[in-house]
Symmetry: C2
Subunit: 382 residues, 2 copies
């Protein structure tokens, strides 16, 4: 890739603003960034010359026919560069190709039959080759893994993969020749939502994921708060109901034992003897099956309590609920809302809750976004 860098801080903020908030005219940018119009002419010139920005080819919707010289929207050339994002789980690798704007343009999944770092790196390289063949100008690779990651490069500890201090970025870089960014999967998803998703432009923003585990990400002042406990098992000790169910994965009555898919399935299996999928349990609860309804009801109350606690203590402008388990909201939404109400001041501002059905490709997209942040714009933040 042509190295656009280094960008000056002001140039960087212009690039990010356009990248994140779509086509914007110079005047609009000046207003948003508190700069003069003259500065914007100066700042955008090198960005246009380097090819990162273009003057948008008349954004169809000339919309309001206003007087005066029409504004000239600037836009990133989203399709001129591609980014690869991978999410590694214990038995699958999910891959996506995204544009510079993080729109997914292709998907590719492969089973993971070994956790040997070299094997994983080989697999990632093979998937990269396959994806890069179909998509031009791949600028970089982002990889998300559950576990603790250091300096965008080394997997310090990942219980799911049984890894310790694996220099994954280096291994993949050797095999592909492309820049590689590795990060914790939850952190990557949070960054993606902060830049391009529900958290766009917000100051205080929380991401809560429910699925195989519980994920929690905090964004303050537009920046993600790094936390050491990012590896799985964080929610194991969020005790919501001391008398709650006891499951293999979490402490009694913890968020993990009440809310994660494995724990919910475990509870139903323990009570009924039948092994049901998460979707079946949700359907059963909706249909009024007593055991499923009880477990799902408890999960809904737990989720509401959790959301209320987060809202009470963090006071975020928005909470994004994501992950494979968000189907819970459809079935038990009222229960969740009741629990939230019970734990909130009646005059408190309503929680800005957004639910996003997400599959593993969203996690992979998150990793791609991290690659965009680090590689194109030289570091996070914005």
């Amino acid at each position: 890739m042509t190295d656009w860098l280094p960008l000056s801080p002001a140039e960087r903020s212009v690039a990010i603003e356009v990248l994140v908030h779509g086509p914007l005219s110079r005047t609009e940018l000046a207003r948003r960034l508190n700069l003069s119009q003259g500065s914007l002419t100066r700042l955008t010139k090198p960005l246009i010359e380097s090819g990162l920005l273009v003057e948008a080819p008349w954004a169809g919707a000339s919309a309001e026919a206003r007087q005066g010289r029409p504004s000239q929207p600037l836009d990133v050339v989203a399709e001129s560069w591609s980014f690869l994002g991978f999410k590694i789980t214990d038995e699958m690798v999910y891959g996506v190709v995204t544009s510079l704007r993080s729109d997914i343009v292709a998907r590719l999944d492969r089973p993971l039959t070994s956790h040997d770092p070299k094997y994983v790196a080989d697999l990632l390289a093979a998937m990269t080759a396959e994806l890069a063949g179909r998509h031009p100008a791949v600028a970089g690779i982002g990889i998300g893994v559950g576990g603790f990651v250091r300096e965008y490069a080394v997997v310090g500890e990942s219980p799911y993969l049984s890894w310790r201090d694996v220099p994954l970025a280096g291994l993949v870089r050797e095999r592909t020749g492309l820049p590689v960014v590795v990060e914790n999967d939850v952190a990557a998803l949070v960054e993606a939502e902060t830049w391009f998703g529900a958290g766009r432009g917000l100051d205080r923003f929380v991401v809560l994921t429910i699925g195989a585990g519980i994920g929690y990400g905090l964004v303050l002042g537009g920046r993600r708060v790094p936390c050491a406990e990012e590896d799985r098992g964080f929610g194991r000790h969020w005790i919501i109901d001391p008398l709650g169910p006891l499951t293999p994965q979490g402490e009694r009555g913890s968020a993990v034992s009440l809310l994660t898919i494995p724990s919910i399935r475990y509870q139903v299996r323990a009570a009924t003897g039948r092994d049901a999928s998460y979707e079946e349990i949700l359907a059963g609860a909706a249909a009024g099956e007593p055991m499923a309804a009880r477990v799902i009801g408890e999960a809904g109350r737990a989720l509401g309590t959790l959301l209320a606690q987060i809202a009470n203590f963090v006071m975020p402008q928005k909470i994004l609920l994501a992950g494979e388990g968000v189907g819970l909201m459809e079935v038990a939404g009222d229960t969740v809302r009741d629990a939230v109400r019970a734990h909130r001041h009646p005059l408190a501002a309503p929680i800005g809750l957004e639910t996003k059905v997400s599959d593993f490709h969203d996690w992979a997209r998150g990793a791609a976004v991290l690659a965009i942040q680090v590689l194109v714009l030289g570091g996070a933040g914005g």
Copy 2:
């Protein structure tokens, strides 16, 4: 007061740094603020000429006898200006005089026999006259009230005083001729601790007060997060134990009903029939009286749970526990710590917990700090 303002942003940051972090040499300031030494000469010159800073008269402790030209520490002339801080409760007004560094140099309390705004303003003016007579160069007045305050001036709603839209700042300014800053009492305390106390220089910081009520303040990125629920009763709906005690003030098992002094006294009175003071109950619990020990033990567990939840969700670098009720920590400290442990990941970083015994004069000092922030340095932040 001579109007030092306006300060340029850079000058302001220098002034704040010296004010908050004590005498500092120009070189040290340059290092802390990421500026060159030359810039510091330039920036400090007008500050010294205006009288806000002085070259410290050889700070006694020449400490390490190092080589080279000795550094010339700069300091604020803390005593050349005084600030008044008042805390209004429903039956008392507590007043303090502080230096520019917010050290309390005098106290004065008066009973409040009427809640009529004009009467309160007259009382404040009388107290101001008495205090200003003994202390020169009063630069401004800060007033802390429980309730919602708008724009540092108008008490929007205060249930304790039964006020609605009382322009307190204007009333007091008319009578004293001094600049007046009004703010919510908890907010003022939080600002004071952020600038001069436990939260100095921290990025994420929480203040939790227990006493007549529960107070909660959040500091992110060095700035206090304004929240609409700042008026009393915020913790009434933090349900900690759904099966907990039911008291007149809070919801069943809420932080208020488990932790505030009136609720604790109510519980003991309801169980034993005797009316005991908070201190007597604490002493009784320490001595092993069963009922007192039970109530205090429950309060300790509740506090630990609360602290753990805050730590889990906000991940602050430090939590300051303040208020009239912190004696709880001395008696039930182990219980609190056990509860924290139970609700935290075993590998999670320990909570930076600091306990501060505080009386009503600390609340008044907080109000004075707000006056310092707004009047001297032109707005909050730092």
